[in-house]
């Protein structure tokens, strides 16, 4: 007998990256620029705090929304860094990664038949999250000529005016694009005009290399219609500890917590201790990692240009998004360069509309590996010429 799977699950295909895994397994000299997580380990002070908490036997559940102390620390941090004012009692929930927070928001806000506009190319979890929640997706492609920023024209062309929710992520995975305050203002006006709830994934906020990150929730009239996601995976190099959070109006956070209390109870306790220490004492470690990413970013952009691949000036996260040479699809190029040169990159179409013809290149890898990878890609291009 076979067990019948739900239609919701059946409509969502497995992640497009899977096949590449198998090819990468065949070689032992692969340099991977396909990784969406930091190459740094969690700052030692945070790891040490986690270890201490284990030694002290602090392994029980915490409050559903996370330890009060941690929510207070998060409130202080987002106020200080991004000018975001949230009440630790009612407006902040700590989750098992930003991933859980995004899922909770979809389940709390999306009814069957609701439409969720998603700026693309984007992180791959939003679309399945909407479908699992029973909603429908309205992709909003962004374009290289706009430096992959979301525009009102793009929203209108995609029919997002009729959507219920709008999701985007800046600094962006996979393009490395950022949006400044002046870029966000028209989007905020559009959301207010068409009464859209905005889900803003700001997990890469710290990794902004040109100026300071602005959250759309700080724009007039936006706080009450925005849910902000952030977490410790990227800037604090804590991916495996699984800790993120959402900030939003009390009723939305309360609704998210209602799901969370039945499905997760509380975010990992050990990770909460690590996070508390990360906010308390790891600012310098974070700075140092950001400085390193920035140097690598400039290195990689320069090298792509030197070898004749067009790449727009990525200013955030740890990705850049070069164009594949003409005559190739992104998928063919990525597969061939992996088979022949052992360099792993992700084809842009995996990330949705607007990603085709591009590669996501992660520079969360040592400079030595980046240098070698670019040399191999250069050799590959010369062979093809």
């Amino acid at each position: 007998m076979t067990i019948e799977l739900s239609d919701r699950v059946k409509t969502v295909p497995p992640s497009g990256i899977r096949r590449f895994f198998e090819i990468a397994e065949e070689r032992d000299d692969v340099i991977s620029l396909g990784v969406g997580e930091p190459d740094f380990s969690t700052p030692w002070a945070a790891r040490d705090a986690a270890i201490t908490s284990l030694e002290q036997g602090k392994t029980s559940y915490t409050a559903n929304k996370g330890k009060r102390e941690l929510r207070e620390a998060i409130a202080g941090y987002v106020a200080d860094r991004f000018d975001l004012g949230y009440d630790p009692g009612e407006e902040i929930i700590v989750t098992a990664g930003a991933s859980e927070a995004v899922d909770l928001a979809f389940r709390a806000l999306v009814d069957p038949g609701d439409t969720v506009a998603i700026a693309q190319p984007s992180y791959i979890s939003y679309e399945p999250g909407v479908i699992f929640a029973g909603g429908e997706v309205c992709p909003v492609p962004t374009k290289e000529e706009d430096e992959f920023r979301l525009t009102v024209d793009g929203l209108e062309d995609a029919g997002a005016a009729d959507a219920d929710l709008l999701v985007f992520c800046y600094p962006n995975n996979p393009t490395g694009a950022i949006m400044r305050e002046s870029d966000l203002e028209p989007i905020a006006a559009f959301a207010r005009e068409h009464d859209l709830t905005v889900l803003s994934d700001e997990i890469y906020a710290e990794l902004t290399y040109d100026g300071e990150h602005t959250s759309i929730a700080t724009l007039p009239g936006m706080r009450e219609r925005t849910i902000v996601f952030n977490g410790f995976s990227k800037a604090h190099a804590m991916t495996g500890l699984r800790l993120g959070y959402a900030l939003g109006p009390a009723d939305v956070v309360g609704a998210m917590n209602r799901i969370h209390q039945y499905t997760m109870l509380s975010a990992p306790t050990t990770a909460q201790y690590a996070a508390l220490e990360a906010l308390d004492s790891c600012e310098d470690d974070v700075r140092e990692m950001i400085d390193q990413y920035d140097r690598r970013r400039r290195f990689v952009l320069s090298r792509f240009r030197e070898i004749g691949m067009d790449v727009f000036e990525a200013k955030g996260a740890f990705y850049c998004f070069p164009e594949v040479p003409s005559g190739w699809t992104a998928e063919e190029f990525a597969e061939t360069v992996l088979r022949e040169q052992g360099v792993a990159v992700v084809p842009g179409d995996v990330f949705g509309e607007g990603g085709e013809g591009h590669l996501r290149v992660s520079y969360a890898t040592s400079l030595g590996d980046l240098r070698e990878a670019l040399t191999r890609i250069e050799a590959f291009l010369e062979e093809q010429a």
Partner: protein, 161 residues
């Protein structure tokens, strides 16, 4: 500012080529070369050395940390004593420090005997030096900011979203 960036890159890895530093800092290669020359000429950058894990080599390398106490008089200051000690090639580092003793001196040699002899014959007899305490290095765990252990392994998946 760009001077600082070049310096930071060199401190991270002094073997980065000028071309690579240029790519990382958005400077031109010849600008980087000029900055490095200036840093060297001004004596900001005094040299470039490999960070060696001696435990990985067959041949013995003996290193010692030596605490020195000195007595100053009207004619002799700290820098006079330091000048005199620093000239010995066996002395690899010499710093005036706060606390219980005056100088913190690092010494290297091929054997304990050689290092001991150096301290007893060349250092201790210096008239201003009133006391030496020698600590032989047994194991080194971190040198110049570089951990000598196995480090954290990169066990990330080759693809992740």
């Amino acid at each position: 500012m760009s001077e600082r960036e070049v310096l930071e890159s060199l401190r991270e890895n002094a073997r980065y080529s000028a071309a690579d530093i240029a790519r990382m800092t958005d400077l031109e290669e010849d600008e980087v070369e000029a900055i490095i020359e200036e840093l060297e000429a001004a004596g900001v950058v005094r040299g470039y050395q490999a960070v060696v894990d001696w435990d990985k080599l067959e041949d013995e390398r003996v290193r010692a940390e030596v605490e020195l106490n000195v007595r100053l008089d009207r004619e002799t200051g700290y820098s006079d004593i330091a000048d005199r000690l620093a000239r010995f090639p066996q002395v690899t580092a010499l710093r005036l420090v706060s606390g219980d003793y005056d100088f913190d001196m690092e010494v290297e040699g091929d054997s304990i005997r050689e290092v001991s002899q150096f301290i007893s014959e060349k250092v201790a007899p210096v008239p201003e030096i009133t006391q030496t305490v020698t600590h032989y290095v047994m194991t080194s765990y971190k040198e110049n900011g570089i951990e000598l252990g196995d480090g954290d392994e990169d066990d990330r998946l080759s693809f992740s979203p």
